[in-house]
Symmetry: C2
Subunit: 395 residues, 2 copies
């Protein structure tokens, strides 16, 4: 039945069947995708690592299986019109095999590779003339010394794969700094120039297979210890900077051949230059504000893009939007407690999103978005609600 429905829809037979999207992973991105899928009448099937994953808790269509399990992924793909992703922890070789066997994988393995492997990403984007930091591959201490001789200390050492939320990134201040323990012999490394950061920005793009793309207004992000804690839209930068960032985002999407949502994290340097920091070829934390703050959310446009349907408008619904991530506090208190939830919802103009996760210090438990007439006001409201939910002084 499901097979028939999916195939009928993919063949474009009018009035037959429903679109079936399979998402590998069932974290908060999948969880927030469910609302968009339900509204569109799209069947969103999830391949969850565990039955209590954030999205698996609330979805009617969950298959439990590891993303590295070939049989699980292959079987899952068979029941879907298109396969897409909640994270990048996937076997790119397997995806290439599935694509060769006729499955529709969006984004495709070539685009995913740019998000998975930073060395590959720097090489491809650099070759396309896109602004990336000066960088070099590292196989030992000598490579770092040689790079620093050319570019000066400090330098930034990065794991080419597997790093996120500040993990896999080390700032080395001089030649005496030892390589991190996970260095040579472990994951591949690269070294990059240490860019003086004036502001951190994110460009969010949605792109269809044929190239139609939309770009949301530029996002300003605030990171603490490598973890994004606050976002503000529109970013407080000159219009020329916003235009350049948008152009870079679209060029990266085109170069990568991305289908779906692409988030390009950028540094605005002290000299006013923009350089690419990170990519994510999926809905991203820098786009959660779009649920309330934009006419079309990143989750809706990701589904529309991977199904090759026309994309929705990225325009703002208010002059300013601010999002504050909810990170588990030191006391481990659950933001779902009545007093905390009531205090947060008493703040005017905020929307609360909780991911169904047990509280642990530093864990992303949810986010709060506020809309308002100006950036400062929206941010103040979002901070108040966030403090009520996870702040140390919240009841």
């Amino acid at each position: 039945m499901l097979e028939t429905e999916a195939r009928a829809w993919a063949r474009g037979e009018p009035g037959q069947g429903v679109p079936v999207v399979g998402m590998v992973g069932a974290g908060q991105l999948a969880r927030m995708s469910l609302a968009a899928a339900t509204a569109l009448g799209v069947r969103l099937r999830l391949l969850a690592a565990a039955p209590d994953d954030a999205a698996a808790q609330v979805s009617a269509d969950v298959t439990v299986g590891a993303p590295a399990d070939r049989a699980a992924v292959t079987g899952f793909a068979a029941g879907c019109d298109v396969l897409t992703f909640d994270h990048e922890l996937v076997d790119l070789g397997l995806l290439a095999e599935l694509e060769a066997a006729g499955h529709t994988i969006r984004p495709g393995p070539a685009a995913l590779a740019l998000a998975v492997d930073k060395r590959h990403q720097r090489a491809v984007l650099g070759a396309a003339g896109l602004p990336v930091p000066a960088h070099a591959d590292v196989t030992g201490q000598a490579d770092v010394a040689a790079f620093a001789a050319a570019h000066g200390w400090p330098v930034v050492l990065k794991a080419a794969t597997g790093g996120y939320d500040g993990r896999g990134v080390w700032v080395l201040h001089g030649p005496e700094a030892p390589l991190p323990p996970a260095g040579p012999g472990g994951r591949p490394l690269l070294v990059e120039e240490h860019v003086g950061i004036e502001r951190e920005l994110a460009v969010l793009v949605a792109r269809r297979p044929g190239g139609q793309a939309v770009v949301w207004p530029l996002v300003e992000t605030v990171q603490v210890d490598g973890i994004c804690v606050e976002l503000l839209v529109p970013a407080r930068v000159e219009p020329a900077v916003a235009s350049s960032a948008t152009a870079i985002g679209l060029a990266v999407a085109e170069t990568a051949g991305v289908t779906g949502v692409l988030a390009v994290e950028l540094f605005l340097t002290g000299s006013g230059a923009l350089v690419v920091n990170e990519l994510a070829t999926r809905p991203h934390n820098s786009g959660h504000w779009t649920i309330e703050g934009a006419r079309t959310s990143q989750f809706a446009n990701h589904l529309r893009a991977v199904l090759d349907l026309p994309l929705g408008e990225p325009a703002l619904t208010a002059p300013a939007v601010a999002t504050v991530n909810l990170l588990g506090g030191a006391d481990g208190a659950d933001p779902r407690g009545r007093a905390r939830l009531a205090a947060a919802l008493a703040v005017p103009g905020v929307a609360v999103h909780l991911y169904g996760k047990l509280a642990r210090p530093g864990r992303k438990l949810g986010h709060v978005t506020a809309t308002g007439p100006d950036p400062g006001g929206a941010l103040a409201l979002a901070r108040r609600a966030a403090a009520a939910l996870v702040g140390e002084d919240a009841g």
Copy 2:
């Protein structure tokens, strides 16, 4: 585990458990409630009449059972902090028993009774000084004739219970008109004056147990054959009319002692008076526009109200919002077909909501909401998208 979680949350223990709302019914109102519940981290359990009900298709927490089955409803209520409703087809006696046994029922049976029984509703609202049409109970043809002698023909005959979407309403133009077949001996009837309708309006209120209430901007509705087909916000009426309508909505909510969302359908008569037409003590078709068009949706505020949490702002996200309901066309074509969906999504500024129902002529399959700078423009966009999905000329 669920019991413990629910009870801990209800007791207000900080940081313990999650709020559990049980909803009797799993139609499109429950389906659209899921997104709001997921965002808030509220566990929404559904009592579905059938496993393929609109909401049951997509929810992880479905119990199948008839709303008239005492054992099913009683067992379902035991696992919830609060019981609420997707429809009014419930046993009010059973709900009163559950309430007496300590369960939290919101809205309570007394408020539900006003939506279930039009005779009771007219009596209660009339006694409270609220504007209702002149009316009388009917037990036979003589009652109709006596009423018409006092108020003139035509008169409107209504089934006191069980009517919706134009069913259970008959306009009688003279004494020779026979009573409808379902009349005396079947459902109780009432007769009302035939009000000259200038415009149909709806006031949407959300109210907490303690009385805190918010009112969304006034809605204008367009009915064809008793079925609402289009909605426009804000309603095109004088500010004084909007103020009066809002005051009536709040007064009905207070009189009814409603907890949750209340929709009050009003007639604006040719002489500029407002009279109450219908009530719904739950999220309602006249509030679907709030998902995109208001800062807080009716579904989010219904959950917040029944959990006695602070209510969210009802302000508009755009100067004008229009919604067009998708009714199954004569050809029975499914709006989820690729060509129809693609054509609708190509219309700028619209959001498509499909309810997961098979297409049948006249069936409510979904709705389309458009936001825009003016009512006419928003309505034109919503109509274009709706025509693409279910129009006779759509591909």
